[in-house]
């Protein structure tokens, strides 16, 4: 089979889209948190909770849309721990983040094995064929036959990019991350701003996890994120709060993962472990090359206490 045939290219493009979306969503969630000064090191666990709750909601309702909502709700609930312990009480973010990761892994694995492992079910698929465009070669069957969820999430991403950079709310978020006391002095509420950021963080990361279980794989498995949350954290740091850069860097990751099948078709057999490793090598090389140019909000990681110096 030729490498450049339409069907191969379409499959490649589809693979890139479904592999990249969870990462973009998680990285956008993490960006909202980090811009407001909250480092959520637990998004690996939050993603798993979102993936599991999304899976449960999808198979019990039979609708991937309800599943996505379930995933978002799961992510928000998981982030409540971070909200209370870190934003409100000012406890150590790294320790809480690791705790959320470990507990998310443990809880979802225990729950899945207890409830679903004996009768694994697949999530019903869904796709919207956009009239006209879906008949185009290559992009038709890949891009324009995605699930409607894909388009809704795309709109949500554009909305977040707009909100972060063009509105007062976005300004408050960035002020909370740059200099919380100035936001306080201007009459804003740092805790409320950061709380909204953490909840949105949970919603997006949970949606990323749910996308992974509902649309990328169609099922849930224990530890299915495999470090994706940590990749999202790195991408967030390299993207400096710009949604465009998140999309570009995430696409690089998606291509690295999706290139496996086309390579196998032309007879290049590379072990699966190489592909699991490749994104991390890409990330490491990027970190080495651009480490000095990555900037994070100055107040990242420091809880805000009114009046404290």
């Amino acid at each position: 089979m030729s490498l450049l045939s339409a069907s191969v290219l379409a499959a490649f493009l589809t693979a890139i889209i479904v592999q990249t979306m969870p990462l973009i969503l998680a990285a956008i969630g993490e960006t909202i948190g980090e811009q407001s000064g909250v480092l959520n090191l637990g998004i690996e666990g939050v993603m798993l909770v979102g993936a599991y709750s999304g899976y449960v909601a999808a198979i019990s309702s039979g609708s991937p849309w309800i599943g996505m909502l379930g995933g978002i709700a799961g992510g928000v609930v998981a982030n409540l721990l971070l909200l209370v312990l870190n934003v409100w009480l000012g406890l150590n973010q790294i320790v809480i983040g690791l705790a959320i990761t470990i507990m998310g892994e443990g809880l979802t694995s225990v729950l899945y094995l207890q409830n679903y492992s004996k009768h694994p079910q697949s999530v019903p698929g869904s796709s919207w064929a956009i009239p006209g465009l879906s008949d185009l070669p290559v992009v038709g069957p890949s891009l324009f036959r995605q699930s409607g969820i894909f388009w809704v999430l795309l709109i949500a991403m554009v909305a977040i990019a707009f909100l972060l950079s063009r509105t007062n709310w976005g300004l408050s978020i960035r002020a909370a991350g740059q200099k919380p006391s100035s936001l306080d002095a201007a009459g804003g509420n740092v805790l409320r701003t950061r709380s909204s950021a953490v909840l949105l963080n949970g919603a997006f990361v949970g949606a990323g996890g749910a996308f992974l279980s509902i649309l990328t794989t169609g099922t849930f498995t224990a530890f299915m994120t495999g470090g994706l949350g940590f990749v999202a954290i790195v991408i967030t740091m390299l993207s400096r709060g710009k949604v465009t850069w998140i999309v570009i860097t995430s696409l690089l990751y998606g291509i690295a993962v999706a290139i496996k099948n086309p390579l196998q078709l032309i007879g290049v057999s590379v072990p699966a472990d190489v592909f699991q490793m490749l994104p991390f090598i890409v990330v490491m090389v990027t970190l080495i090359l651009f480490a000095r140019s990555s900037i994070v909000p100055p107040a990242l990681g420091s809880p805000y206490t009114r009046g404290a110096r």
């Binding site: 312990l85 406890l91 790294i94 809880l107 207890q114 790195v234 991390f280 490491m284 970190l287 994070v296």
Partner: protein, 386 residues
């Protein structure tokens, strides 16, 4: 007392979770006691304790210098694959003691070399070590899997599963007389005592604490920041890799692909509960060894997956920070985390940007720990080029 409170609270909440899951928590905890201590089971617990204790020491070395080495899972597997890869091939051709020595030294070396990357990036460019060590860990896991499926796969053609050959019984680490506990346990305890001596009785221990409290102050008294970061990170990596090779040589005897016991995650809360003291870590790690060894079977006996232990570990971490918060509010005792480590996230990607500023009157909830004579330092953010 405050070292035990978070554990007790976590066990209570874990018990409640078991109730919600529809099992009897008392059965679970009775199972932990039964499978962890009674009969000969305590020996299995001590066998598990050997790698856990050495990893704890590796974490203590890094954390004392305020370095977040989170690459422990990958480093551990690199150490174990040195043993499981070289062992079956070298033991038949060379004297046993020599092979053991080669494996031990090899794992130390591999662990140290792997940690050079995050250490140098941190020392030279100030790249945040949380991220680099984590990413290096994922790369290490991939490398280990490739090795096991390729060069060090069991040469027996009938073995199709991705795993290495088994090291013969007579070549494993010898048992302590009358038990099934291998001498790796003794090594771990001796290392802990040596580490305790170094941090509490030598000038290096003082320099380590000065560096940990403030790298800038350390620079002023003539301690090289870069050298210290590289030394601590490599020692930490070497110890964690050593734990891997000892676990293979003494306990598991061969290695499967995708085997990842996650010892580092499990041991981390206890390292903090011990307030980074090697001596205090011994009883805490011993407790966890019994809990983990018994808990795997106990969880199965009440119909739960053994990953339930992860939930307990996470709960301990959460209750640890809450207990610390309450304790600080009431100015009781000292915190589990050194003051500087709480600030270290601020220095993400730019520790040189973090200039310490003296705080003369600490706010009530930012009280310095009672044992620390230095004033609290907070970091002034901003990007400073070097």
């Amino acid at each position: 007392m405050r070292s035990i409170l978070p554990v007790v609270l976590a066990l209570v909440v874990a018990g409640l979770i078991i109730v919600v899951m529809g099992s009897n928590p008392l059965d679970f905890y009775a199972g932990v006691w039964k499978y962890g201590l009674t009969g000969n089971n305590w020996q299995d617990s001590l066998r598990l304790m050997a790698p856990l204790m050495i990893i704890a020491l590796g974490l203590i070395v890094a954390f004392r210098g305020q370095l977040w080495n989170l690459g422990y899972n990958g480093t551990f597997l690199l150490g174990s694959v040195v043993a499981s890869g070289l062992g079956p091939n070298l033991f038949p051709v060379l004297p046993g003691w020599l092979v053991t020595a080669i494996i031990i030294l090899g794992s130390l070396l591999v662990g140290a070399l792997w940690s050079v990357v995050p250490a140098v990036l941190k020392a030279r460019f100030g790249t945040n070590e949380i991220i680099t060590s984590l990413v290096m860990s994922f790369i290490a896991i991939g490398v280990v899997n490739l090795l096991i499926k390729g060069p060090v796969h069991d040469p027996n053609p009938r073995v199709t599963a991705p795993q290495t050959a088994t090291i013969a019984r007579e070549n494993l680490l010898p048992f302590i007389d009358g038990t099934r506990v291998h001498i790796g346990f003794v090594v771990a305890i001796v290392l802990a005592l040596v580490a305790q001596f170094i941090v509490s009785r030598t000038s290096f221990g003082v320099r380590l604490d000065v560096f940990g409290a403030s790298p800038k102050a350390a620079q002023h008294v003539g301690i090289s920041r870069s050298w210290m970061i590289i030394l601590l990170f490599c020692t930490s990596g070497a110890l964690i890799a050593l734990a891997g090779s000892i676990d293979v040589l003494g306990n598991v005897t061969y290695q499967r692909a995708n085997w990842n016991p996650g010892y580092g995650d499990a041991v981390m809360p206890f390292v903090f509960l011990a307030r980074l003291s090697p001596l205090a870590a011994i009883p805490l790690v011993a407790f966890y060894s019994v809990f983990a060894n018994g808990g795997i079977n106990a969880a199965r006996s009440v119909g739960l997956n053994s990953d339930f232990l992860l939930v307990v570990v996470g709960l301990i971490l959460v209750f640890m920070t809450i207990t610390e918060f309450v304790g600080e509010k009431r100015r009781l005792g000292q915190g589990y985390l050194p003051a500087g480590m709480k600030q270290s996230v601020m220095a993400l990607f730019g520790p040189r940007a973090a200039a310490p500023v003296k705080v003369t009157t600490p706010a009530p909830d930012k009280v310095t720990t009672s044992s620390s004579p230095t004033t609290t330092t907070t970091s002034t953010p901003g990007k400073v080029t070097t």
